[in-house]
């Protein structure tokens, strides 16, 4: 009870709750966008798409053994990747379609905003746990990502499909992760595993 009453715990719980709501809304929007995208791009909804490069897979082994920080960091990395990919999709969409299919462009832009907001939300949670938020530029410099290869239009379409599908998966995982984080820790008052996180 004491943990539950501490201001930081309450704030974390509040952030988690709002994050869960954001992720739920994001998933609903992604699913809607996925339908529109498949139809507009003339794709087969059942087509299997290879994993999108640069996006950590939502499915992970030993999920329940992960620490809270691990969860937040993985989420943050994924949503930062999604942010970049969605921005690229939006740009490609503008290049290829111009002012046609403006509705799809607007939906993509809206989703990009949601992803950015969710990434910011995750950063807030990480700050709350007194963990440093990994810088994006720093990561890029360290990783030294090569410039993305120029894809054919068909590959762009498939990649877009893969990005949206994976984002939908991540939205589900994020809800579960945040629920896990929102659970009060009986011992420390922190999220489960946070204390032992690196």
């Amino acid at each position: 009870m004491a943990a539950a009453d501490s201001p930081s715990a309450a704030l974390r719980r509040d952030l988690c709750t709002r994050g869960i709501r954001l992720a739920g809304k994001m998933r609903a929007d992604v699913l809607d966008l996925l339908d529109a995208y498949v139809e507009q791009q003339g794709l087969d909804a059942s087509a299997s798409v290879a994993a999108v490069e640069g996006v950590p897979l939502a499915a992970v082994e030993r999920w329940d053994e992960q620490t809270g920080t691990q969860r937040l960091l993985q989420n943050l990395a994924a949503y930062r990747a999604f942010r970049a990919l969605l921005a690229q999709m939006l740009e490609e969409q503008r290049e290829q379609l111009g002012e046609a299919e403006a509705g799809l462009g607007r939906a993509l832009a809206a989703l990009l905003l949601q992803v950015s907001a969710f990434a910011y939300h995750l950063e807030e949670l990480l700050r709350l746990e007194s963990r440093g938020v990994p810088g994006e530029e720093e990561e890029e410099e360290e990783d030294g990502p090569p410039p993305p290869p120029r894809l054919s239009l068909f590959e762009q379409k498939l990649r877009g499909l893969g990005v949206l599908r994976e984002l939908a998966q991540w939205a589900v995982r994020s809800v579960r992760d945040l629920r896990q984080l929102a659970k009060p820790s009986p011992a420390t008052g922190a999220a489960p595993g946070l204390a032992e996180s690196p």
Partner: protein, 1015 residues
Amino acid sequence: MCFETKERRMKIPIPESSITVTIKSSGTAFATKEFVIHQKDISFAPDTPHILSLMPNFRTSTLNLKWSDNGSDFPYGLDALWQIQILRKEAMEVVTQVTYYSKLTHEDVILSWNWTSDMPLECTSHYVKIRRYINATQFLGPKDWSDWSPEKVIPGKDTEPGESGVFPLDPVVAVGSDLTFCCVHEEDQRITNMTYGSKSYKMMRLSSRSHAIRVLNASVSNSSGTNVVCRLENGLEGSVAFVGYAPDSPQNLSCETPNFLIIKCTWKPGRPSGLYGDRRTTYSLFERTSGKNVSCEVSDVNKDHVCGFPVLPDQKTYDFILGVSNPIGQAQSSLLVDITQRVRPKTPEKLTVTGNNSTSIQLRWFINGSFAEIRLLCQIEITSSHSDRKLHNVSVPGRKFSTYTAELNALHPDTKYQFRVRCSAADHFWRWSDWSRGVEQTTSEAPPARGPDIWRERSPSGESLRVFWKPLSLSETNGKIVSHEVSCHQLETVLERKTVPEPSNSTEIKLGKSDCEIRVVARNGAGSSPPSRITSVELPSDNVTTDQAVAMGNGINISWDSYPNMTCGYIVKWCHSSGSEPCSVDWQKFPSNTTNAVIKSALFKPGVRYNFFLYGCKSVGYQLLKNVTGYMKELPPKTAPNFIVEETSSDSILVKWEDIPIDECRGFLKGYLLSFAKGEKDVLKPRLSESGNPELKVNNITDLTKKSMKILDLQGKTSYQLELQAYTAGGLSPPNSLYVVTKEDSVGLIIAILIPVAVVVLLGVLASIFCYRKREWIKETFYPEIPNPENSKALQFQRNICEGNKTLKTLEMNPCTPNSVEVVETQPTAPKIADTEMMSPAAETTVPEDGSDSEMENHVVVSYCPPIIEEEISNPPTDEPGGSSQVVYIDIQSMYQPQIKPEEEPEIDLVTAAGYKPQMQLSISALKIEGHSPVEEELDKTAGYRPQTNTNAWNMGTPDSPGSVESNNENASFGSPCSINSRQFLLPPKDDEDSPKPINTGWSFTHFFQNKPND
């Protein structure tokens, strides 16, 4: 010449005509060969050509072949033919072979040839080889093609290890094209299918790693292109095809300048290309004179495309070419314009009103542009609440980014105006600019334009004068009227002055018997109007006539004779009265030369009488000339005239009536209709005029002074209905009715009494004489000395004691009332009870159906004495089983019920249990159970009626059902007892006897009786 070589071939110069060749081989004697070669026997085959380069263009699937003609080896001007062969696939199938012509120039020239493949070059390897033929005309011998050059190859992607994909990659083609797509994959992969859009196509094998599909007549793709998908066993490859149209030529290209800074060209793009984004149609505006080119950013969505081109210094004429292109094609449209003649100024801004008085204002506005080279024509729209829209044009010299002004005059004071402005070029009108936003301004007030129209009337006493004026029209008030000033002048002396605030339109001035000149001025916030004048003097008039007038059209026409001495015109005055309010005076003035006028007023109502007074105007005063009574429209009188019967006689009625009040006449009265006919007073009776009574007589009284009428030739003591109606040109009033009975005619009455009395007396006398003369015959006929008993009523028995009148008991031969007993021969085998049954009235049912009348004729009738009926009713026959008790009283139930209780008559128990009592057949039916003889059957047929169903059926009733004994007793209360003479009523009809129907099976008596009334 001797040549030495180690090869087996040798080139030697061509001889002039022939040459002897000796081939020797060193070391052997047999190796010598000698022969002669003639020039005509030598064949001419040029050297094999050499392909310099073969360049592929994968985007366009085009091969570019380059080779040298080696012309320096040949004399100038020889024709050269080049045969080029294209081969494809691993098997090197010939795709095409073409012949290319060139002329040798004695120089080495690089020749080039392009070929576009219908198959993407990536799909499979393409090979090219070439040979030549030189038409050496001076060479006598046979000429031949050279050998084929070695093939040059453009390897397909299927030859490159690890290469895969669908080709061509993201092509953009025109609608209707035939497309070939191939799928290059790894050696060990297998293609599941290939689709274009949603349709699967049959694949052609190009190589072990390449398969192709062919799409014919491609239709326009959607905005994101048409996917070409190659499904592999473990993957997916694809390409996106964009099929669209080449750009349409721009239509309606038009250029104009809004400000001499930029030229705006607009056009309609025509048919959409179906291509978007990077593949969209792009536009560029090229000006030929200056050589300047501008790229146009246009929206795909808007239908009207606009492109701006800067106005160049010192250039008036522009020769524009609008170029249009997309990946499929290009088009253009051109326009030559003089920009000074294509000016559509920008919308005027900052419109303001400055300098405002009651009739003029100044407008100021700004136009953002440099119009120094032209004049501007600006149009100002003026609208106000009480005038139509007006347009005012002003021409102003154009200036650079300047403000323009215009003054508007002849406005109306105290009026709210709305203004807006638009401009164009004055000298070469092209188009108006858009309207500026509007501004509102109200002009200031000015004194009323004129004095009000006035009239005056002296009071009946002559002591005061009432002055009337009409309100000024909106266009005359020039502001809000606040009051009227009325003054009375005698020469230059003001006798009285009054200020009357709005909204009064009259005032009273005490004058006494004197006269003065009345002056009235209207006053508003800006000042007073000029005065209106009228004299109070009224000149005496004589011989004033009263005319009648009815409106023709929408006004009442009044005419008068010309009065030369009426120098200042005429005035027609009238009065409007509405209900109880005092009459409001109205008037209209006419010039001196007028002799008629049509008076119109929205206040005139149909059916209302208006009195018009025509005054003539002289310099000294006004004189009444004529009265006119008029109606806007005549209506039927509202009420009927009241009338009474003044006196009646036996043949006449004198009727008198009263005038109808003027208000109820509603028109000029034309006369009365007096109708009469015979008729009694009856509320429901229709009006006489509507009754269609043939005796109806109608008197039309057109003499309006006549107020009575005598109706003659009527019948005495007869009721007459009278109706009186008045009528105008508008129709008949409702009728007023009266009923009058004329007086009795005394002479006729006396005659009517005396004649019947005389006739009766005469008849009496005649009868007496006749009786006296025939008295013997009468005596014998009516009063004989020995009376005939048959004719004696006193000796007649009552025929039907039951139906007989009780009051006749004194005449009955009681205690033995004669009655009839039918004696029927009894059957010797019949049981004793049969006798009883014989005595029952039911036995008489054997008589013919014609009833009691025939009884006397066909049977021996023995009189007997039945007990008194009343006693029989009170004492059931079971109490006295004696002889007289054989007379059985039956009622309706007795048709079905035994008169003897079942326990007392066990023999008939069965029948009794069946719910009814056969009044004669009862015992017979009982006997039938034991043994039914033919005789009994005969008896059965002839006597009474039979059970209508078998008795067993009747026993099926429940103990408490209506069919039980108790129920029977209850049911005995139905119907009234009757003597045997009433049996006819009780017996069923013969038909039922002959064919009894088991209609009562399973049915209760109660039910039967309930249904009886329906029967």
